[in-house]
């Protein structure tokens, strides 16, 4: 457990998080690995877990009719994959596929959500961190939609 706690403490997503909360988060965490091409997340499936990437690369994909899978973002060490675990209806909005051997910490979303409900200080910390990621991705999406390079 100490190993997991150390990794979680060091991960940018949890930077500066109170030790008490690190222990709570670690209680919902486990080590996982994915081979290249294996899916971490499938579109529209329950968002049971999210992942702190430690090594490797993951593609976030959307299936577009007639175009196959379109990758709209790739993530790597230090990133998190999956935010739907905190946001109702807790279903994934895209596919996430490992592009190479990927090692990560999987966090049980249901377990952490229950802890967030019973300790709102923890819930607020998680909400702030997830919102920061959503804002970054919103900015990125705007740039992609504007298609600035195409003009």
């Amino acid at each position: 457990m100490e190993g997991l706690e150390g990794i979680i403490r060091e991960h940018p997503f949890f930077a500066g998080l109170d030790e008490r909360f690190i222990a709570l988060v670690s209680g919902c965490a486990k080590n996982v690995r994915f081979e290249a091409k294996q899916y971490l997340i499938r579109h529209d499936e329950p968002a049971n877990e999210f992942y702190l990437v430690r090594h490797g690369r993951v593609a976030l994909e959307i299936a577009a009719p007639g175009h196959g899978a379109l990758t709209f973002q790739t993530l790597g060490a230090g990133d998190i994959v999956g935010v739907s675990w905190l946001i109702s209806p807790y279903r994934s909005q895209y596919d996430a596929q490992a592009l190479e051997l990927t090692r990560a910490i999987a966090i049980d979303g249901g377990c952490l959500r229950t802890k967030c409900e019973s300790d709102h200080d923890l819930g607020y910390e998680m909400m702030k961190r997830v919102v920061a990621i959503l804002v970054q991705r919103l900015h990125a999406t705007r740039l992609q939609i504007l298609d600035v390079y195409g003009r």
Binding site: E61, A69, L70, G78, V148, Y149
Partner: protein, 294 residues
């Protein structure tokens, strides 16, 4: 020193806004030597002047290129500043003049005035790290800087190129980027906005690459060129990464007519882009950014 005065002092190939040599209003005659496709929609022309002059220029400068009978537009120099005998320009067709230029075949006549404008601040970068951030065709005006940095590699710390493009087919100078990252002492990260499966590189906007740059923010000079929206968001990301505004330089684009600081066509409030720019230190043009009216 005023911005205009500094721009003037820094232009090696003559006073900024006024090229060295003969009548700056009169296009010199050149011929296309070669034309090659460098991405889905960008062509690179190699031009030799009819009466050869020194093709010396500062990375970041531009020429006014004439397609005779159609018009004249500003186009950055995209070649090696040390290759004095030929002029290289990379052009994306967006309207009548740029289309006529991009379609020119070997042997065709072309007019040119210049080089004009300020260059990238290579001297300020000596001894520190250099972070080059390019978006789309913005890599063209930055390529001469990369040549110059690599030619004097030992004078700089870490050199990083972050390049964002629309899709894999739009990546400019693809082969050269690969060779820079393989053979040279320069760290290269390329990203595309979206990709079909088969592309195994990074996907995401160029700002997502900034945290990957292995530079020491307090001793880094950042050189940024691309569409203005991209530059604005990149400046924010660089600043969040710890790079001060005074160490960020960008190249601005405005329509031009005279390129000599006389007609006012390229004016942005108190600044004339052709004379004081196109390369500006960010803190000096910050207020001009993001105004719809400008």
């Amino acid at each position: 020193m005023s911005m205009a005065a500094e721009g003037a002092a820094s232009a090696a190939a003559g006073v900024a806004g006024k090229p060295a040599g003969p009548d700056p209003w009169l296009p010199r005659l050149g011929r296309i030597v070669s034309r090659r496709r460098d991405s889905r929609d960008a062509w690179t022309l190699e031009i030799r002047e009819q009466i050869p002059q020194s093709a010396s220029f500062r990375p970041g400068q531009f020429n006014m290129l004439t397609a005779f009978g159609i018009g004249e537009v500003p186009i950055s120099l995209s070649g090696d500043p040390a290759a004095m005998d030929r002029l290289i320009h990379t052009i994306r067709p967006v309207g009548p003049v740029s289309t006529a230029l991009a379609q020119m075949r070997p042997g065709a006549a072309i007019g040119l005035r210049g080089p004009f404008g300020s260059g990238w601040p290579l001297r300020q970068a000596v001894g520190g790290d250099v972070l080059v951030v390019a978006g789309g065709l913005g890599l063209a005006p930055l390529r001469p800087v990369l040549y110059a940095l690599l030619a004097g590699r030992e004078r700089y710390g870490r050199i990083t190129l972050l390049y964002g493009s629309r899709s894999p087919d739009d990546v400019l100078f693809h082969r050269e980027i690969v060779s820079w990252s393989r053979r040279q002492r320069i760290e290269v990260h390329v990203t595309v906005d979206h990709a079909a499966s088969g592309w195994d590189g990074h996907v995401g906007v160029v700002t997502t690459l900034v945290p990957r740059a292995q530079c020491e923010p307090q001793r880094t000079v950042a050189l940024v060129c691309g569409p203005e929206v991209m530059m604005r968001l990149t400046v924010a990301a660089l600043h969040a990464h710890g790079i001060p505004h005074e160490a960020i330089y960008l190249s601005m684009e405005r329509n031009m007519k005279c390129a000599l600081g006389l007609c006012g066509r390229c004016q942005l409030q108190s600044v004339l882009v052709c004379r004081d720019g196109p390369v500006f230190r960010y803190d000096r043009v910050r207020g001009l950014f993001a105004h719809k009216e400008l």
